[in-house]
Symmetry: C2
Subunit: 173 residues, 2 copies
DNA sequence: GATATTCGATATAGTGCATAACAATTATCA
DNA sequence: TGATAATTGTTATGCACTATATCGAATATC
Protein backbone atom coordinates (compact mmCIF):
# COMPACT_ATOMS: atom_id res chain seq x y z
CA UNK A 1 0.00 0.00 0.00
CA UNK A 2 1.48 3.37 0.89
CA UNK A 3 -0.10 5.85 -1.40
CA UNK A 4 0.41 9.50 -0.61
CA UNK A 5 -1.53 12.43 -1.97
CA UNK A 6 1.01 14.08 -4.19
CA UNK A 7 3.50 12.19 -6.28
CA UNK A 8 1.69 11.44 -9.48
CA UNK A 9 3.99 9.64 -11.87
CA UNK A 10 4.83 12.83 -13.74
CA UNK A 11 4.51 16.01 -11.72
CA UNK A 12 4.07 18.21 -14.78
CA UNK A 13 6.68 20.92 -14.85
CA UNK A 14 7.50 23.09 -17.84
CA UNK A 15 11.23 22.70 -18.26
CA UNK A 16 13.87 20.98 -20.29
CA UNK A 17 13.45 17.24 -20.18
CA UNK A 18 16.48 15.29 -19.03
CA UNK A 19 15.44 12.08 -20.73
CA UNK A 20 16.39 10.29 -23.87
CA UNK A 21 13.86 7.49 -24.44
CA UNK A 22 12.22 9.11 -27.44
CA UNK A 23 15.59 9.12 -29.12
CA UNK A 24 16.29 5.43 -28.65
CA UNK A 25 13.98 2.76 -29.92
CA UNK A 26 12.79 0.70 -27.01
CA UNK A 27 10.84 2.86 -24.61
CA UNK A 28 10.56 0.21 -21.95
CA UNK A 29 9.37 2.95 -19.63
CA UNK A 30 5.81 4.14 -20.05
CA UNK A 31 4.17 2.75 -16.93
CA UNK A 32 5.02 0.07 -14.45
CA UNK A 33 2.97 -3.07 -14.03
CA UNK A 34 0.91 -3.01 -10.87
CA UNK A 35 0.43 -6.76 -11.03
CA UNK A 36 -1.30 -8.30 -8.04
CA UNK A 37 -1.41 -4.84 -6.52
CA UNK A 38 -4.56 -4.00 -8.45
CA UNK A 39 -6.23 -7.01 -6.84
CA UNK A 40 -5.30 -5.95 -3.33
CA UNK A 41 -8.39 -4.45 -1.80
CA UNK A 42 -6.42 -2.51 0.80
CA UNK A 43 -4.40 -0.80 -1.87
CA UNK A 44 -7.38 0.49 -3.83
CA UNK A 45 -9.12 1.27 -0.58
CA UNK A 46 -6.36 3.57 0.53
CA UNK A 47 -5.93 5.27 -2.82
CA UNK A 48 -9.66 5.90 -3.06
CA UNK A 49 -9.81 7.17 0.48
CA UNK A 50 -7.05 9.68 -0.15
CA UNK A 51 -8.76 10.97 -3.29
CA UNK A 52 -12.09 11.33 -1.52
CA UNK A 53 -10.58 13.20 1.40
CA UNK A 54 -8.66 15.41 -0.98
CA UNK A 55 -11.86 16.29 -2.81
CA UNK A 56 -13.67 16.85 0.47
CA UNK A 57 -11.05 19.38 1.50
CA UNK A 58 -11.37 21.21 -1.81
CA UNK A 59 -15.15 21.31 -1.72
CA UNK A 60 -15.36 22.58 1.83
CA UNK A 61 -12.26 24.77 1.65
CA UNK A 62 -14.18 28.06 1.96
CA UNK A 63 -15.22 26.95 5.44
CA UNK A 64 -11.80 25.68 6.44
CA UNK A 65 -13.07 22.37 7.76
CA UNK A 66 -11.25 19.06 7.69
CA UNK A 67 -13.17 15.80 7.37
CA UNK A 68 -12.48 15.12 11.04
CA UNK A 69 -13.76 18.53 12.13
CA UNK A 70 -16.85 18.14 9.98
CA UNK A 71 -17.59 14.78 11.56
CA UNK A 72 -17.33 16.29 15.02
CA UNK A 73 -19.72 19.12 14.18
CA UNK A 74 -22.17 16.64 12.67
CA UNK A 75 -22.05 14.49 15.77
CA UNK A 76 -22.45 17.39 18.17
CA UNK A 77 -25.48 18.56 16.25
CA UNK A 78 -27.14 15.15 16.36
CA UNK A 79 -26.11 14.39 19.93
CA UNK A 80 -26.27 17.48 22.13
CA UNK A 81 -25.35 17.24 25.77
CA UNK A 82 -22.62 14.65 25.39
CA UNK A 83 -19.16 14.93 26.85
CA UNK A 84 -15.76 14.72 25.21
CA UNK A 85 -15.20 11.04 25.89
CA UNK A 86 -18.48 10.04 24.31
CA UNK A 87 -17.98 12.07 21.17
CA UNK A 88 -14.36 11.04 20.78
CA UNK A 89 -15.14 7.37 21.28
CA UNK A 90 -17.86 7.16 18.68
CA UNK A 91 -15.58 8.83 16.17
CA UNK A 92 -12.65 6.58 17.01
CA UNK A 93 -10.61 9.47 18.34
CA UNK A 94 -8.50 8.94 21.43
CA UNK A 95 -9.37 11.34 24.21
CA UNK A 96 -5.91 12.89 24.47
CA UNK A 97 -5.96 13.71 20.78
CA UNK A 98 -9.45 15.12 20.97
CA UNK A 99 -8.37 17.91 23.27
CA UNK A 100 -6.37 19.88 20.73
CA UNK A 101 -9.05 19.31 18.17
CA UNK A 102 -11.71 20.80 20.42
CA UNK A 103 -9.39 23.67 21.28
CA UNK A 104 -9.30 24.48 17.60
CA UNK A 105 -13.06 24.36 17.15
CA UNK A 106 -13.73 26.27 20.34
CA UNK A 107 -11.19 28.99 19.50
CA UNK A 108 -13.12 29.50 16.27
CA UNK A 109 -16.32 29.74 18.27
CA UNK A 110 -17.87 26.71 16.58
CA UNK A 111 -18.54 24.82 19.79
CA UNK A 112 -18.31 25.20 23.56
CA UNK A 113 -17.26 23.14 26.53
CA UNK A 114 -19.61 23.43 29.48
CA UNK A 115 -18.86 21.98 32.88
CA UNK A 116 -21.50 19.42 33.65
CA UNK A 117 -23.46 20.05 36.83
CA UNK A 118 -24.14 16.34 37.31
CA UNK A 119 -20.52 15.33 36.95
CA UNK A 120 -18.12 18.18 37.39
CA UNK A 121 -15.34 16.16 35.79
CA UNK A 122 -16.88 16.15 32.36
CA UNK A 123 -17.43 18.81 29.74
CA UNK A 124 -20.72 18.91 27.93
CA UNK A 125 -20.18 19.83 24.30
CA UNK A 126 -22.49 22.18 22.46
CA UNK A 127 -22.53 23.73 19.03
CA UNK A 128 -22.62 27.51 19.07
CA UNK A 129 -24.91 29.44 16.75
CA UNK A 130 -21.94 30.06 14.53
CA UNK A 131 -21.12 26.36 14.69
CA UNK A 132 -24.62 25.47 13.53
CA UNK A 133 -24.42 28.02 10.74
CA UNK A 134 -21.05 26.75 9.55
CA UNK A 135 -22.26 23.17 9.74
CA UNK A 136 -25.30 24.03 7.64
CA UNK A 137 -23.14 25.63 4.99
CA UNK A 138 -20.71 22.72 5.10
CA UNK A 139 -23.51 20.21 4.65
CA UNK A 140 -24.67 22.08 1.59
CA UNK A 141 -21.19 22.16 0.07
CA UNK A 142 -20.66 18.48 0.78
CA UNK A 143 -23.99 17.51 -0.73
CA UNK A 144 -23.91 19.70 -3.82
CA UNK A 145 -20.22 19.44 -4.64
CA UNK A 146 -18.53 16.51 -2.94
CA UNK A 147 -21.14 13.77 -2.83
CA UNK A 148 -22.66 15.00 -6.07
CA UNK A 149 -19.34 14.41 -7.80
CA UNK A 150 -19.17 10.90 -6.42
CA UNK A 151 -22.64 10.29 -7.78
CA UNK A 152 -21.48 11.42 -11.19
CA UNK A 153 -18.49 9.11 -11.21
CA UNK A 154 -20.17 6.06 -9.74
CA UNK A 155 -23.83 6.50 -10.39
CA UNK A 156 -26.35 6.62 -7.54
CA UNK A 157 -26.92 2.87 -7.40
CA UNK A 158 -23.24 2.05 -7.29
CA UNK A 159 -22.62 4.74 -4.74
CA UNK A 160 -25.21 3.23 -2.44
CA UNK A 161 -23.82 -0.25 -2.96
CA UNK A 162 -20.31 0.99 -2.23
CA UNK A 163 -21.42 2.69 0.95
CA UNK A 164 -23.17 -0.46 2.05
CA UNK A 165 -20.13 -2.65 1.49
CA UNK A 166 -17.82 -0.25 3.26
CA UNK A 167 -20.17 -0.19 6.21
CA UNK A 168 -20.23 -3.97 6.18
CA UNK A 169 -16.46 -4.10 6.34
CA UNK A 170 -16.32 -1.55 9.13
CA UNK A 171 -18.94 -3.52 11.03
CA UNK A 172 -18.23 -7.20 10.50
CA UNK A 173 -14.61 -7.36 9.58
CA UNK B 1 -14.00 11.78 9.61
CA UNK B 2 -11.16 10.92 11.91
CA UNK B 3 -11.41 7.32 12.84
CA UNK B 4 -8.43 5.79 14.56
CA UNK B 5 -7.68 2.13 15.08
CA UNK B 6 -8.12 1.72 18.80
CA UNK B 7 -10.77 3.52 20.79
CA UNK B 8 -13.78 1.29 20.59
CA UNK B 9 -16.56 2.71 22.71
CA UNK B 10 -15.77 0.37 25.58
CA UNK B 11 -12.16 -0.71 25.82
CA UNK B 12 -12.95 -3.81 27.87
CA UNK B 13 -11.15 -3.74 31.18
CA UNK B 14 -12.05 -5.87 34.19
CA UNK B 15 -12.51 -3.38 36.99
CA UNK B 16 -15.11 -1.67 39.07
CA UNK B 17 -17.51 0.37 36.96
CA UNK B 18 -17.80 4.02 37.94
CA UNK B 19 -21.21 4.48 36.36
CA UNK B 20 -24.72 4.68 37.66
CA UNK B 21 -27.06 4.47 34.70
CA UNK B 22 -28.35 1.01 35.54
CA UNK B 23 -29.43 2.38 38.90
CA UNK B 24 -31.40 5.29 37.53
CA UNK B 25 -34.25 4.89 35.14
CA UNK B 26 -33.44 6.78 31.97
CA UNK B 27 -30.37 5.30 30.34
CA UNK B 28 -30.17 7.90 27.64
CA UNK B 29 -26.68 6.61 26.95
CA UNK B 30 -26.50 3.42 24.90
CA UNK B 31 -25.05 4.67 21.62
CA UNK B 32 -24.84 8.00 19.89
CA UNK B 33 -26.63 8.76 16.66
CA UNK B 34 -24.30 8.89 13.70
CA UNK B 35 -26.85 10.79 11.64
CA UNK B 36 -25.63 12.00 8.26
CA UNK B 37 -22.25 10.56 9.12
CA UNK B 38 -23.33 7.12 7.93
CA UNK B 39 -24.12 8.63 4.54
CA UNK B 40 -20.72 10.24 4.21
CA UNK B 41 -18.74 8.07 1.86
CA UNK B 42 -15.40 9.35 3.11
CA UNK B 43 -16.24 8.37 6.65
CA UNK B 44 -17.07 4.76 5.84
CA UNK B 45 -14.16 4.69 3.44
CA UNK B 46 -11.70 5.60 6.14
CA UNK B 47 -13.14 3.26 8.74
CA UNK B 48 -13.11 0.38 6.28
CA UNK B 49 -9.56 1.18 5.20
CA UNK B 50 -8.32 1.14 8.78
CA UNK B 51 -9.97 -2.21 9.45
CA UNK B 52 -8.54 -3.74 6.30
CA UNK B 53 -5.03 -2.52 7.05
CA UNK B 54 -5.35 -3.76 10.60
CA UNK B 55 -6.32 -7.20 9.37
CA UNK B 56 -3.54 -7.17 6.80
CA UNK B 57 -0.99 -6.52 9.54
CA UNK B 58 -2.36 -9.39 11.62
CA UNK B 59 -2.40 -11.85 8.74
CA UNK B 60 1.10 -11.07 7.60
CA UNK B 61 2.53 -10.48 11.07
CA UNK B 62 4.78 -13.58 11.01
CA UNK B 63 6.69 -11.95 8.15
CA UNK B 64 6.78 -8.50 9.72
CA UNK B 65 5.59 -6.71 6.63
CA UNK B 66 3.51 -3.56 6.50
CA UNK B 67 1.08 -2.96 3.65
CA UNK B 68 3.50 -0.40 2.24
CA UNK B 69 6.44 -2.79 2.36
CA UNK B 70 4.39 -5.54 0.78
CA UNK B 71 3.40 -3.25 -2.06
CA UNK B 72 7.03 -2.38 -2.69
CA UNK B 73 8.09 -6.03 -2.83
CA UNK B 74 5.22 -6.81 -5.19
CA UNK B 75 6.20 -3.98 -7.48
CA UNK B 76 9.89 -4.87 -7.49
CA UNK B 77 9.01 -8.43 -8.42
CA UNK B 78 6.82 -7.37 -11.32
CA UNK B 79 9.12 -4.58 -12.48
CA UNK B 80 12.77 -5.55 -12.11
CA UNK B 81 15.45 -3.11 -13.16
CA UNK B 82 13.62 0.03 -12.09
CA UNK B 83 15.09 2.79 -9.99
CA UNK B 84 13.87 4.33 -6.76
CA UNK B 85 12.07 7.25 -8.34
CA UNK B 86 10.04 5.02 -10.62
CA UNK B 87 8.97 2.64 -7.88
CA UNK B 88 8.22 5.42 -5.43
CA UNK B 89 6.20 7.38 -7.97
CA UNK B 90 3.92 4.54 -9.00
CA UNK B 91 3.20 3.83 -5.35
CA UNK B 92 2.57 7.46 -4.54
CA UNK B 93 5.54 7.65 -2.21
CA UNK B 94 7.67 10.77 -2.22
CA UNK B 95 11.29 10.05 -3.01
CA UNK B 96 12.68 11.45 0.23
CA UNK B 97 10.38 9.21 2.23
CA UNK B 98 11.23 6.21 0.12
CA UNK B 99 14.86 6.28 1.22
CA UNK B 100 14.29 5.19 4.80
CA UNK B 101 11.82 2.61 3.64
CA UNK B 102 14.35 1.04 1.31
CA UNK B 103 16.97 1.19 4.04
CA UNK B 104 14.68 -0.97 6.11
CA UNK B 105 14.06 -3.50 3.40
CA UNK B 106 17.70 -3.60 2.36
CA UNK B 107 18.94 -4.03 5.94
CA UNK B 108 16.70 -7.09 6.16
CA UNK B 109 18.21 -8.37 2.94
CA UNK B 110 14.90 -8.30 1.09
CA UNK B 111 16.09 -6.10 -1.75
CA UNK B 112 19.23 -4.42 -3.07
CA UNK B 113 20.22 -1.12 -4.55
CA UNK B 114 22.54 -1.46 -7.53
CA UNK B 115 24.24 1.49 -9.15
CA UNK B 116 23.03 1.68 -12.71
CA UNK B 117 25.76 1.48 -15.33
CA UNK B 118 23.73 3.52 -17.79
CA UNK B 119 22.99 6.30 -15.35
CA UNK B 120 25.30 6.33 -12.38
CA UNK B 121 22.97 8.62 -10.47
CA UNK B 122 20.22 6.06 -10.14
CA UNK B 123 19.87 2.89 -8.14
CA UNK B 124 18.37 -0.15 -9.80
CA UNK B 125 16.24 -2.03 -7.33
CA UNK B 126 16.23 -5.81 -7.17
CA UNK B 127 14.62 -8.38 -4.95
CA UNK B 128 17.07 -10.69 -3.27
CA UNK B 129 16.43 -14.43 -3.09
CA UNK B 130 15.27 -13.92 0.45
CA UNK B 131 13.08 -11.10 -0.73
CA UNK B 132 11.45 -13.35 -3.30
CA UNK B 133 10.95 -16.06 -0.71
CA UNK B 134 9.38 -13.67 1.80
CA UNK B 135 7.19 -12.20 -0.90
CA UNK B 136 5.98 -15.66 -1.88
CA UNK B 137 5.09 -16.47 1.70
CA UNK B 138 3.43 -13.09 2.13
CA UNK B 139 1.34 -13.58 -0.98
CA UNK B 140 0.14 -16.89 0.36
CA UNK B 141 -0.80 -15.41 3.73
CA UNK B 142 -2.59 -12.50 2.10
CA UNK B 143 -4.54 -14.76 -0.24
CA UNK B 144 -5.48 -17.50 2.23
CA UNK B 145 -6.10 -15.35 5.27
CA UNK B 146 -6.59 -11.68 4.45
CA UNK B 147 -8.40 -11.64 1.13
CA UNK B 148 -10.14 -14.90 1.97
CA UNK B 149 -11.68 -13.22 4.98
CA UNK B 150 -12.89 -10.34 2.86
CA UNK B 151 -14.48 -12.83 0.53
CA UNK B 152 -16.31 -14.37 3.44
CA UNK B 153 -17.67 -11.06 4.66
CA UNK B 154 -18.58 -9.59 1.29
CA UNK B 155 -18.96 -12.54 -1.02
CA UNK B 156 -16.82 -12.87 -4.16
CA UNK B 157 -19.15 -10.90 -6.40
CA UNK B 158 -19.44 -7.99 -4.03
CA UNK B 159 -15.73 -8.03 -3.41
CA UNK B 160 -15.07 -7.70 -7.13
CA UNK B 161 -17.64 -4.95 -7.47
CA UNK B 162 -16.13 -3.10 -4.53
CA UNK B 163 -12.65 -3.35 -5.98
CA UNK B 164 -13.92 -2.04 -9.29
CA UNK B 165 -15.62 0.97 -7.74
CA UNK B 166 -12.61 1.84 -5.64
CA UNK B 167 -10.42 1.67 -8.71
CA UNK B 168 -12.87 3.90 -10.52
CA UNK B 169 -12.66 6.48 -7.77
CA UNK B 170 -8.88 6.34 -7.69
CA UNK B 171 -8.81 6.75 -11.46
CA UNK B 172 -11.56 9.17 -12.39
CA UNK B 173 -12.13 11.19 -9.30
C1' DG C 1 31.68 23.86 -22.21
C1' DA C 2 27.90 26.27 -19.57
C1' DT C 3 23.49 25.60 -17.77
C1' DA C 4 19.63 23.05 -16.38
C1' DT C 5 17.76 18.71 -14.91
C1' DT C 6 17.54 14.37 -12.56
C1' DC C 7 18.80 11.06 -8.91
C1' DG C 8 19.41 9.64 -4.29
C1' DA C 9 19.90 11.56 0.03
C1' DT C 10 19.55 14.65 4.23
C1' DA C 11 17.29 17.83 7.14
C1' DT C 12 13.22 19.47 8.79
C1' DA C 13 8.41 20.41 9.78
C1' DG C 14 3.61 19.15 10.18
C1' DT C 15 0.06 15.85 11.18
C1' DG C 16 -2.09 11.70 12.93
C1' DC C 17 -1.96 8.17 16.22
C1' DA C 18 -0.79 5.95 20.57
C1' DT C 19 0.57 5.42 25.57
C1' DA C 20 1.64 6.94 30.27
C1' DA C 21 0.75 9.88 33.86
C1' DC C 22 -1.57 13.60 36.57
C1' DA C 23 -5.18 16.46 39.29
C1' DA C 24 -9.86 16.80 40.10
C1' DT C 25 -13.96 14.47 40.72
C1' DT C 26 -16.98 10.66 41.39
C1' DA C 27 -18.22 5.85 42.37
C1' DT C 28 -17.66 1.69 45.05
C1' DC C 29 -17.05 -1.03 48.98
C1' DA C 30 -15.80 -2.27 53.49
C1' DT D 1 -18.25 7.36 56.76
C1' DG D 2 -13.72 6.71 55.08
C1' DA D 3 -10.52 4.28 52.05
C1' DT D 4 -9.89 2.78 47.53
C1' DA D 5 -10.72 2.52 42.72
C1' DA D 6 -12.45 4.43 38.54
C1' DT D 7 -13.46 8.25 35.27
C1' DT D 8 -12.74 12.88 32.99
C1' DG D 9 -10.08 16.13 30.80
C1' DT D 10 -5.45 17.23 30.17
C1' DT D 11 -0.34 17.27 29.38
C1' DA D 12 3.72 15.23 27.82
C1' DT D 13 5.87 12.35 24.81
C1' DG D 14 7.10 9.16 21.13
C1' DC D 15 6.40 6.96 16.73
C1' DA D 16 4.88 6.78 11.96
C1' DC D 17 3.54 9.03 7.83
C1' DT D 18 3.57 12.98 4.88
C1' DA D 19 5.56 17.09 2.73
C1' DT D 20 9.07 20.62 1.23
C1' DA D 21 13.61 22.56 0.53
C1' DT D 22 18.18 21.64 -0.42
C1' DC D 23 22.52 19.29 -1.53
C1' DG D 24 26.28 16.76 -4.27
C1' DA D 25 26.92 13.75 -7.98
C1' DA D 26 25.80 12.59 -12.50
C1' DT D 27 23.54 13.43 -16.76
C1' DA D 28 21.14 15.94 -20.45
C1' DT D 29 20.52 20.04 -23.18
C1' DC D 30 21.87 23.96 -25.59
Amino acid sequence: MTVSKTASAAAAKPSRPARKELAEGLVDDAALQLGELSELLGYSLKRAQLRVFEDFLRCVAPLQLTPAQFSVLLLLDRNPGRNQTEIANTLGILRPNFVAMLDGLESRDLCTRIRSTNDRRSHILMLTDKGRAVLARAKKLVATKHEARLNEVLGPANRAALLDMLATIAREF
